[in-house]
Symmetry: D2
Subunit: 327 residues, 4 copies
């Protein structure tokens, strides 16, 4: 099956490569001609503009947009939609806010265009492991694209099957899901990332407590000098908490026990924030997912204004002078 | 009534002064002779050693220990108890862990000595406003000391009376309470401080959101350049959230809108931690009091190890490189 | 000065009454004729429809809309705006989402109408204490309405003045603030309520720990049977944590120590949610304000689905059977 | 190698069975003769009392105590230690508080007895998967017991090796670690369980948001009716968040999508609490691990007293009447 791909970064490029190794054909476009050339060298059909890209696709066209930021995705889809024809499909495979999908899908439908949102997980490892895909859109359109999704998905692999799933949608065990109407794909992906933040923070706090088990403020008989790298490794086998995230942690610690090669300045993408917004809209208490997000916010500041307010109050009622911050 | 005071810092010295202005007599001791001399100049009887201090008190003696740190309080009470006689009373008015009171009271009782724990609130303002006292100990002993507590307490003042309290313990409205047996005083004071942390943090976060309402990341039509000092002031009148803590905030902001004279490095004393421990022991979810404590922990670090773990994981699964920390 | 008021509930009715006692004239409307009649009896000019209401106002008209829910406020302002003329002012004094103000103000401006958003604090006590008002809008319009705001505000009263405020906007000390352009009033009020949630939760958790200090799971020597009503009362005098919210708590506990006349089912209005959204948009960690909101969400559920997930996992890995919930 | 086991519940019994299948010999004791008989049938040597148990062990003896509750473990080790002789080893493999290990190890050392604490993970699945063991104790003693630990550990299995671990302690990759001196084993196990709570809660909250994505309070165009069971399953393949805990969730949901066979009343064992205490002692902000614990506390209550305080305050300032709790 033919797929057009716009945006040939780490994710888009690898998706195209994975598709081509399974016999699909691709037309690719990126504003950076070098990125196009690299994939042309791998047998993709290159294009030099959005117009050229659309021309090289066979109707009904399928264009997968895989761009990083919200604004450029919006602008690209807008431009693309003006070049496409009724019956064509635009897939947004990036990290788009699901409410934008809903709005956009409605607008495109009025012009006869189909829209599919695909939450794509797998990161830089996806080309090998396959991509877990969470898909939103009309049934007919999603079904039509099945050969693409099937190829990109990781497949059953050697992961044990869950009992009790006999007779259920077989795509799920292949690693992709048609989650619901337009927006549902990115909604489910958003929660995936929200959970990811929480899982990461749970590990991070645990290792932090292990790391600080030897501080001088503790009584001598209650101090331990622990090997964090070994502990991360041992938990990978037979414990209750193994996961890929733990694997990555064990790997990083094996390279550098102190992690002093990392800044501790932690970015967040939109999904963590939208997850909190969704929790608030639904009145679901999401303490852990929210705390995980807030920790990232805090990691990017020297001091919060809130902390200065606390210092000021303490000076006011108790004459406390806070010492300068430790290095 | 006569009271002995050991420890003539801000709190101990002011307590002695407030007592003397109401006709009580005091014997004072501090390891710093200058501190003793300052109070002798205000009519206190000075002493040059713990032995001398005890000799100058009339039996049954009442010695109030008002020292900052746990270890020196423990050592002083231990030394003092060896000099005192059955029927004498030791008051610990500092910020002692209530479980230490329980242990200590039991040990002293075996030697015929009385022990009273007094959680004392009021800070540097207490000499004028009076001290809110939360008292633990045997009824007879606490009753015997009533003249002291009555003088130190703020009294009804101009604070409106709560209806429905007719016939109840009149000491409460004077600002002191016999909360229960030994340890109960500091237990209640601990919770007072735990709540204080939570209240402070609630204001602090609110002002932080106001302060950041004008950041560039926000859409232009949703940005506000707010005058934080004026907002703190206006809330003092007629809103739902006035308090002394808000007064202090308004005062600090009136002096310096940016609070850049404060570090934002926020200490915590034991009470906040013991409050969390008590919540855990009682299986009471105390999200806010705990978050308020953790914020202080975080304020004293450049980066947590947890954050470096997050950076490391992100590098592992997505190839994300975290930028260096902003100044 | 003349003011029209639409919505004669607790808040709207009392605002009208407070204005009239100071010589202002009012025109009132409510879809419930009885509410109109009650205020007519107090000297307001009644009206029988929105049309009638507008007719009875002198140009340039000032109409204060004080309605509970977002949808009815929106619809009423929409209808009202069609009846009003350039130069007239619509005030939204309810608990409106500030982004709705921004949108609405822009739309009205195109029709020559002025819009002012007033966050109004004071609850049922405002008629006596006055209302703390946080105002957003164009300077000229807000200045024109000053006689209204001045009358509604609590005034300096007996609250001590903050030093360092000499030469600053004198309205602030009267209890009202022109916080910024349209939307700023409700934005500041939103944060006020967010802080309120945090303060309430801090007290609530503290009392919860006090209440549970006597549970059987604790060691006998570490249990206390505390009088919560007395503790709330004693903290009102000389402690660090007095506030109106504490007064209300002490009052409720004086009536009923167990509070078993209260359900513990706690509603939230939009402000707490919008505060969290604002924190997320600004990347401000707001742990306490968020936890306070989530506690309310949780209070309204029998069990969360999250808890059932936990039960299911525990059954899966450990064979744990969770006992039925305690009454 | 010979091992004595006291406590033949799920964990103790399976450990004995796993050892015997690999050629180790065992002496077993349980206060329930049926439990002893069941293992005798599987070739263990039974015993009828602690005395008999000790007699049947060859010196130097190794007795593994695997009992559920803290008190019975304490009493059993105390009784056992009186029967054992210098050079013998007592292993506590249960969920013991690490500070109890430190105290106990010190007392036993004075009598010439060795003590080893083993945090044992693996639950009911350990007999097949092996047990991840975190061990504290003197090096010589832990080394002497290596054949036991090696057999119980899961081994490398098919879990990929972490690069960069060449030349490091090979036991780690087998799934067991000598973490440090007495207490270190249970300390590390405690953090393992603390992390486990956090991971579980992260998943639980995510599924809760998915589950509530279709509530009526949401705008119609923003509602999704999602198949939670399918989503749990799809995330098992190729996403960032697979784990054994997710496997268990997918399995439970495959059986019953609503989980209405689970109460949502969630117990906590000591480790989660001790983790929070350790974080507080070390001044490590552990938001997520703490929130996960508090959620469990809350799950076991109908309403907290804190919530009633909130209701009471709301009634006080706004006249709000909270509706009765929803079923």
């Amino acid at each position: 099956m033919q797929l057009g791909m716009i945006g040939l970064g780490r994710m888009g490029g690898n998706i195209v490569r994975r598709l081509m190794t399974q016999g699909h054909t691709t037309v690719v476009y990126d504003k950076d001609p070098k990125a196009v050339a690299a994939l042309v060298a791998d047998n993709a059909t290159g294009s030099s503009s959005l117009e050229d890209f659309v021309l090289k696709l066979e109707a009904p066209r399928t264009a997968w947009v895989m761009l990083p930021a919200g604004k450029i995705t919006e602008a690209t889809i807008e431009a693309l939609s003006k070049l496409m024809q009724p019956g064509d499909v635009i897939i947004d495979g990036g990290n788009t806010f699901w409410q934008d999908d809903v709005r956009r899908g409605k607008a495109l439908r009025e012009r006869g265009l189909h829209y599919v949102d695909v939450g794509t997980s797998g990161g830089i490892w996806g080309i090998e492991r396959g991509y877990c895909m969470m898909i939103g859109g009309d049934k007919k359109v999603v079904d039509r694209l099945d050969p693409i999704f099937k190829t990109l998905a990781p497949g059953i692999g050697d992961i044990p099957r869950t009992s009790g799933r006999e007779g259920r949608d077989p795509r799920i065990e292949q690693g992709y899901i048609h989650a619901g109407p337009i927006g549902a794909g990115h909604f489910v992906k958003m929660i995936h990332n929200g959970i990811e933040y929480g899982l990461m923070q749970a590990y991070a706090e645990g290792f932090d407590i292990l790391k600080n088990a030897n501080i001088e403020a503790l009584p001598a008989e209650h101090r331990f000098d622990l090997d964090i790298a070994d502990i991360a490794e041992v938990w990978r086998r037979g414990s209750v908490i193994p996961s890929w995230l733990l694997d990555l942690t064990a790997s990083a610690l094996a390279q550098n026990h102190t992690l002093d090669n990392y800044s501790g300045f932690v970015e967040d993408s939109g999904e963590g924030r939208w997850t909190v917004n969704a929790a608030v809209d639904e009145a679901v208490p999401a303490e852990v997912l929210t705390a995980a997000l807030y920790t990232r916010f805090r990691s990017r500041k020297d001091h919060t204004f809130a902390e200065k307010i606390l210092s000021a109050m303490r000076a006011g009622f108790g004459g406390h002078k806070e010492p300068p911050k430790k290095a």
